[in-house]
Amino acid sequence: MLELVLAAAPIGVAPTDNSWINFDFTALFQNFWSATFDGVTFGAVYGLIAVGYTLVYGVLSLINFAHSEVFIVGAYGVVVTLLTLGFGPNAPTLSPVAIIGDLLLAMIVGMIASALTALLLERIAYRPLRRRNAPRLAFLITAIGASFAIQYTIFLIQGPLGGPSGANAMPSVTMFQQHPVFDVFGTIIYDVQLIIVIAAIVLMIATDLFIRRGRTGRGIRAVAQDPDTATLMGVNRERIIVITFVVGGILAGAAALFYIMLVPSGVIYNGGFILGVKAFAAAVLGGIGNVRGALLGGLLLGVISNYGQILLGDAQWADVVAFVVLVLVLLIRPEGILGQTLGRSRA
């Protein structure tokens, strides 16, 4: 019997046809620059989501599993706002100023939705456990339960809210007609890509300044470094924790707008999971607990998974590559590239 099993093994390893995985280096070299720029654009979105993981981890040493749902709620906020404003699958025929105004409004709604979700999550799910000094496992289980509850609340109420019923994605929303701006190395750069990358970098610099310069930022760093001493020094720990969750939520809301800009029909109630894993991978790659690392990790992860997807020949490989990157980082350098944590970062 054993011989039979052993004989079967090599057949199992060899695929029936060779088209499912290919190391197509010519395709990679041909599309190298476009893959890079696309990757950077997606990476900027991952980076924005990753900040939410990184900040909460820095302050509470806790992976907020429900952060992917914070993002999804923001995405629903954005889509619902845009649908109400009359956006649809085709690019709107409004004046640029009106479009910018509408998008800003949608972003603000998304930010508020995400920030409120994060706030409620902290209040309802995490705070009672913190009061009780619950073991770490309890936090993880609560997080996953909350994430599940939020997902299926969306699933159940999206029909009444004017969305599709059942397990369908929200209607596609195109924000504006994409225009080529200039080319680099023979690859056309579109305005969408520029807007997303620049906006993400601006938001990240603002977050970084907020944490490094401001009074509240100093509080966040103090709590990250040593909660007990910070409390003795007059820092209100609970307030700092709430602010941390809200800041992560705001950035997730912004990321939601940019994500929909890239993937107009990508909003679905359970779409957060894999995006959350990717953003978490980005946070770990850059160094979890490190705000600058989150952006760096996000950009790198976006580029790497895009290369992987072109090299291996199927869009779904992007997720697999991101996951492999996460495991490799944990294996080789668990502290990430920049490696320093929020508490130890200098002002």
Binding site: M1, L4, V5, A7, A8, I11, G12, P15, T16, D17, S19, I21, L60, S61, L62, I63, F65, A125, L129, R130, R132, N133, A134, P135, R136, L137, A138, L140, I141, T142, I144, G145, A146, S147, F148, A149, I150, Y152, T153, F155, L156, Q225, D226, P227, D228, T229, N270, F273, I274, V277, Q316, W317, D319, V320, F323, L326, V327, L328, L330, P334
Partner: protein, 397 residues
């Protein structure tokens, strides 16, 4: 244990005193509705315990025939097949309990091991697969071996780190297995594998006993497997390995300092949990007779976690019960079947806040033993000794 245990503690004495009180109160709170039952159970002689267990097992085997009103499923769900799926979830609960309950590691991608087991059974028995065919029953140990290999593969990079990483890596792994099943042509994607094999045996009419439409023989097979796994898990629990797991769960750093090779035992726990997951997956594939990439989603993983946590992480009977309940509720109350994910998500949050020990709390006998051992040690300060001894005794009872 405070969440941020790095920095120096304010007033270490006060802190430790407060923590001690809290541990005691948790120990008291762990006593649930089943506590009297358990006390009486423990007082029974060994023979009486076995006799009662035999009755329970007999009732369990008769379950497919107990098809009457308050118990049975609502129309549209076949009762013996519901029994089978309860048994599979119970087996999953027992397996996942090794990971979550004993070793305190959160595995959010358990469905991936379940999937690997299912695919092992399907690919070695289904005519749709290019692989060599082996008899179905041989795929059960094979599924265990292959999933254990995957467990080690996943555990080694992540288990050296904090538990949170394991959770997210397993979450990702669950999704990756599904994606790989879609893109690798040999795994047939959505088309899947038809006619998965089944154990041999024919009835009086010469028809095979194990068929897709009849859940009863599959239920009995699974129940037999559960009993074997429970006996093995019980032995493990009481062995050196089990004590090491509990030590890791309660305080990993302390366990490491006391000489427990924590990494090794964590990998063991993870691999064994994975093995049981693979076994249950192979059984599931056999009964359903069809495996494709649509059945193994993250949601199912979370249901598995909910089963263990609801039943009582760290208690194999609890995990068994939790698994059966999670499978039973949606088929018994079809009105709420659509809301089951929402309900179990909320249940997880509420359980963690109000009753983190689940329905059947983990046995605290080991910990209580340690507490009793405290006052066998001769007191160093004769003045305060009687008081503290009384306090320990009072709280341990």
């Amino acid at each position: 244990m405070s969440l941020s245990s790095d920095g120096p503690k304010i007033m270490p004495d006060a802190e430790s005193a407060r923590e001690a009180i809290e541990t005691e109160s948790i120990a008291v709170r762990r006593h649930g509705p089943f506590v009297h039952l358990r006390e009486r159970w423990n007082e029974l002689p060994r023979q009486a315990q076995w006799a009662w267990l035999l009755i329970v097992v007999a009732i369990a085997f008769a379950l497919p025939y107990l098809n009457f009103f308050p118990l049975t499923t609502e129309p549209g769900n076949d009762w013996p097949i519901a029994c089978f799926s309860m048994a599979v979830y119970a087996l999953v609960g027992v397996g996942l309990n090794i990971v979550i309950g004993y070793a305190g590691l959160l595995d959010l991608g358990y469905v991936a091991f379940f999937a690997v087991g299912s695919y092992t059974a399907a690919m070695f028995t289904s005519p749709d697969s290019p692989l060599a065919k082996i008899p179905y029953l041989w795929t059960l140990p094979l599924a265990i071996a292959i999933t254990m290999f995957f467990g080690v593969l996943l555990g080694v990079p992540t288990l050296r780190l904090r538990g949170d990483y394991l959770a997210i890596v397993t979450l990702g792994f669950g999704e990756i297995v599904r994606i790989l099943a879609t893109i690798i042509p040999a795994m047939n994607g959505q088309v899947g594998f038809q006619n998965v094999g089944h154990p041999p045996g024919t009835d009086a009419h010469g028809l095979p006993v194990f068929v897709v439409s009849n859940g009863t023989p599959w239920y009995w097979l699974t129940l037999a497997v559960i009993i074997i796994v429970l006996l093995l898990a019980g032995n493990l629990e009481r062995s050196r390995v089990g004590r090491a797991w509990v030590a890791i769960r309660e305080d990993e750093d302390a366990a490491e300092i006391m000489g427990v090779p924590t990494f090794k035992y964590k990998v063991w726990a993870f691999a064994m949990g994975a093995g049981v997951g693979g076994l249950s997956g192979a059984l599931f594939a056999g009964q359903v007779g069809f495996v494709n990439n649509q059945k193994f989603d993250v949601q199912t993983s979370i249901l598995f976690v909910a089963a263990v946590v609801l039943g009582g992480a760290g208690n194999k009977v609890g995990a068994l019960l939790g698994g059966a309940i999670v499978a039973y509720i949606p088929v018994r109350f079809t009105a709420i079947a659509d809301y089951k994910y929402l309900i179990f998500g909320v249940v997880l949050v509420l359980l963690m806040i109000f009753r983190s020990q689940g329905l059947v709390p983990a046995k605290m006998r080991l910990l209580a033993f340690a507490r009793r051992a405290m006052h066998w040690v001769p007191p160093t300060e004769p003045k305060s000794a009687p008081e503290s001894a009384n306090a320990t005794e009072g709280s341990a009872s």
